[in-house]
Symmetry: C2
Subunit: 223 residues, 2 copies
DNA sequence: TTACTTAATTTTGCATTCAAAATTATGTCA
DNA sequence: TGACATAATTTTGAATGCAAAATTAAGTAA
């Protein structure tokens, strides 16, 4: 009568592993926002005791992914339109900075890698493979962020990104918006190749603002 | 029935209390950077068990204030010049954003409050009361941040601010730098009163860059 | 029924306990 | 003495236990 574990946990500390797994569950929508998440249930699911689980929840609460109410436990933080309108400007500022720094520090090899990703993404776009498109899209933004050579920036960005990624993932783009996003990505690549930091910064900021519109429209429609 | 009148007795969790207290200890320099901090010692100092203490340490590690090495415990994160050069650009981007948003949303009353703080600060400057000057200075920046009406922005900024506040607090300014900082604050107030967001953003960014120079010079000298 | 108590159950916050890893101390032999 | 191996101690990671708070269930009177 073995409790079936999703996968054995042995690598790092349980705590770290749990943070990562819970984050995935939340982003992928396996845990619905607003839903109460009893510790016991989570512990049974991952076959760990409450101690490391509670540590993980504290960290996630700090990152804004879950909400901890004293003596009343954890719930997945619901992302509202208001939240998005708070988070996106901050992400915009961070992305703009990442663009500026990246242009200063990126190597030719890295630019080539981004270019390759860009064309891969175009392929997914033409074939209308949305999930693949998303994946490659994220890879491009991550590559730019990494090129900025600033771990503080990366981690701050990632933290915010996690909060909205679920909504971003679920929100379907209209054909029109998709076209626009791809066009913007052409500009992004061009600015990067020209190493024009301020321009890349501005484009990234605008790109994100368009994403916000997509997501918040979806959120208004689908709660 | 007024909800605000019968505000319940604040029953804070030990965990939250510890996060705050440890943060103070670190910022005020009671715990020296690099120093190993055995859990047991901390627990005895605050008279709590290891469970809430460990939870607090995890959160602080997440915020970058302490470093957790697996099976080897916690140590206060040492702030290096490289760290500062990573953190300050990010803070700069956030402060610039706070300036822009604040100009859009700040009320006349709040501007008056900032003005009052500004003149209070000038008094401390003229009397060369550095600690009071610092305190008022921080209050001004906090007021601007609050005026931006963006909790995400505030908390991200605070997190980074905590990481460098210790160094910032200890670093003594030369007379020249101090003069310059005060001059910049005149510009800050002027831009705020003119509600010129982009200008305020730029000034705040430059102001922070100057602070970085002060702090990193001190850090190079005093490790 | 419905509103209101009050008892039973569950869930959380924290302390304690136990095992594994790391650190320090001790002993041996060249 | 010093280099190395091994035992004792300390410290960390995680599980369990226990009391307080909250939630749910049950009962009682209008």
């Amino acid at each position: 009568m073995n409790v079936r574990m999703d996968e054995p946990i042995m690598r790092r500390s349980l705590h770290d592993e749990l943070v990562e797994r819970l984050q995935r569950l939340i982003i992928e929508g396996a845990l619905t926002p607003g839903e109460k998440v009893p510790e016991k249930e989570l512990c049974e699911r991952f076959n760990v005791s409450r101690t490391p689980m509670r540590e993980a929840l504290k960290v996630l609460a700090n990152a804004g992914l879950v909400t901890l109410t004293p003596n009343r436990g954890a719930s997945v933080t619901a992302v509202t339109v208001e939240d998005l309108e708070e988070v996106f400007p901050v992400m915009g500022a961070l992305e703009a900075l990442s663009g500026e720094l990246a242009c200063e520090k990126i190597t030719d090899t890295e630019i080539a890698a981004v270019r390759a990703l860009h064309h891969e993404m175009l392929g997914h776009y033409r074939a209308q493979r949305l999930p693949d498109y998303f994946k490659t899209n994220e890879a491009i933004h991550t590559a730019i962020l990494n090129a900025a050579r600033n771990d503080t920036l990366s981690s701050q960005h990632q933290m915010l990104s996690a909060r909205v990624r679920r909504a971003r993932y679920l929100a379907n783009m209209t054909r029109e918006r998709w076209d626009k996003a791809v066009a913007e990505h052409e500009d992004i690549l061009a600015a990067l190749e020209a190493r024009d930091g301020p321009r890349l910064g501005k484009i990234l900021k605008r790109h994100l603002r368009n994403k916000l519109e997509t997501v918040s429209e979806w959120l208004k429609a689908n709660g």
